[in-house]
Symmetry: C2
Subunit: 349 residues, 2 copies
């Protein structure tokens, strides 16, 4: 990958390649570090309980577009994406720190809007903002949030512990956040051509909210407790079902079968996908930003979750050698791939 | 501060004004949050021990200039500034997360350099890198580090607990990092005028290292344990002695007297300050980035620290009503102010 000038371009590696590359030389030295890089969050032993630590960075122009993202929603979302990572460990979020870098383009009122969203998320999820850093940036807004959570050691769920024959489940519905983004991008481009055009967002509240104000599934963590179910593995869906299923299977050294007809989709997602001439399943598989939970349970626990409106069983875990497969509606079997949105969607155009 | 358009400019508030403003509406909801915003790090109850959590963000063009900052040094420093915050709680750092946003201007080799510095700091300070986020940026490099540390509840030292008559102490020497920066900036401007000029940095290793590769005083935390001294309050010096002494006194609701002649200065700092026609004391008071510890001890502990080469007693704590004072070498008394570097230095020119 190194070219004649001894320079390797980052784009050749991609984000996960870069993370893998950077993680290679990381060694664990402290006994209290129960789990380091490689899952949704780190685990730190703290006597009888374990501390969960996770962090995420949102960059203007990369993760959000302020032309259609209200700052309050952005603040809310920046907290939620971290809380979702804590949930994915089956832990309860408790503290966050928020660091922001911003240019003088932002007024105090704008920052207040941002923080009102941050504080609303803190209130709704009962987490404490315990620190952070504010600094200037030469261009744009950058938000970096770290979240801490706790759980008993016995309750922690990793992404690396799925077993053959486990059921593969997902919460809520998928693909909505992606279709919300497509709608916002379309209306933005219409507006750019003609400033007198009003954006046509009516009747699409659900997919817009999925994109602009997602929620983390702390309710599912409580539900697991009530149902007395401990998932055998779990990961949150930030990058699309395909990518997350591959992460989970790779970490657990297993394969999986996912049945396309079982993938939960909202009717607004389906309608908007049809309007955009995109296969709705592709939105779920490759869209990302749904912040639902993908998890596996033992077949013995099937009766406990059966019929719960929050949970869909979409497939099962197979032996590693069988690979990760998508069984399409027609019965054809495709290998699951984690291509980016663009490359997948281009095929459909 | 709001102008006719209902817009308040951030520059009118300054960083601390903004933090204070943003902290106003923060409420603590979790019993495990032993201490939130307002000190160097947050405290999280974890059974018998407490978890310390802190975070800092470094932005290219604001906190560092890559023309003269080697990426390896930058990585090292980004970890050290967080470890210094953990030290300032009298705690032992144990884990960090590192998030970076970078533009495609950076090659993999460049990022490797950055991470080699991060990993060297992890090795030297025995901390584990347990997570993070990597993302693209439209311009420049942004590094956000969060650090976790632990201590027994009884050993934690806050900045808000200094008492009248306590001795005010500082570790190491001050002002060096600032003079290192001045030297680098001067040689950069010479180079910009004539590219054939070689930077003249010889004989200034110490102040250059203070700027480019600072160290956190974990050794002092161990020393306190050995000497059986628990400071009555502590803060790390990232923004200059004046600013930190004012923070400490304000949080503790006390005043202080600092004696100019007692402020520890290295001979390289003094020489370079004289070359730049800056009062060396001003470098210490307003320069920042020294990452030494400013702390108070009870007078009863004086004998324990007396004569230790790492510690200088620079003054004492007074009643709140007496204010924060600098007693100059000539005997004149000045009110301590936390002006930025520029405004202070302009006076001397």
């Amino acid at each position: 990958m190194t070219n004649s000038e001894g320079r390797t371009e980052l784009e050749e590696l991609g984000e996960f390649g870069l993370i893998q590359h950077l993680s290679k030389h990381v060694e664990i030295k402290n006994k209290s570090t129960a789990l380091g890089i490689g899952d949704d969050a780190a685990l730190i032993d703290a006597g009888k309980g374990q501390v969960v630590l996770t962090t995420d960075m949102l960059v203007e122009g990369v993760h959000f577009d302020l032309t259609y993202t209200p700052l309050k929603h952005l603040g809310y979302k920046s907290v939620v994406v971290n809380i979702s990572d804590v949930c994915a460990m089956n832990a309860t979020p408790s503290q966050i720190t928020v660091s922001i870098a911003l240019s003088n383009r932002f007024s105090l009122e704008a920052i207040d809007e941002l923080y009102s969203g941050i504080m609303l998320a803190c209130k709704n999820y009962k987490v404490d903002l315990v620190g952070g850093d504010t600094t200037s940036s030469l261009s744009g807004l950058i938000i970096s949030v770290s979240a801490v959570g706790f759980a008993d050691k016995k309750d922690m769920v990793l992404r690396s512990t799925a077993k053959e024959n486990d059921l593969l489940c997902v919460t809520g519905d998928l693909g909505g956040a992606y279709m919300g983004l497509q709608l916002l991008e379309r209306e933005k481009s219409v507006f750019e051509v003609n400033e007198n055009m009003q954006p046509n967002l009516e009747g699409n509240d659900y997919i817009l909210e999925r994109q602009l104000k997602p929620e983390a599934r702390t309710d599912i963590i409580k539900l697991f407790e009530e149902l007395k179910v401990k998932p055998t593995s779990m990961i949150d869906i930030s990058d699309g079902l395909s990518s997350e299923a591959l992460h989970l299977c790779h970490s657990s050294e297993v394969g999986c079968n996912i049945y396309e007809e079982k993938i939960p989709l909202d009717h607004q997602t389906i309608e908007m996908a049809q309007e955009f001439k995109i296969d709705p399943s592709i939105c779920a598989l490759s869209g990302g930003e749904d912040y639902e939970l993908l998890f596996t349970i033992s077949q013995n626990d099937h009766d406990k979750i059966k019929g719960d409106p929050n949970i869909s069983i979409i497939g099962h875990i197979t032996a590693k050698g069988e690979g990760c497969q998508l069984v399409a509606k027609g019965g054809a079997v495709h290998e699951l791939t984690a291509q980016g949105w663009d490359s997948l969607l281009k095929k459909d155009k």
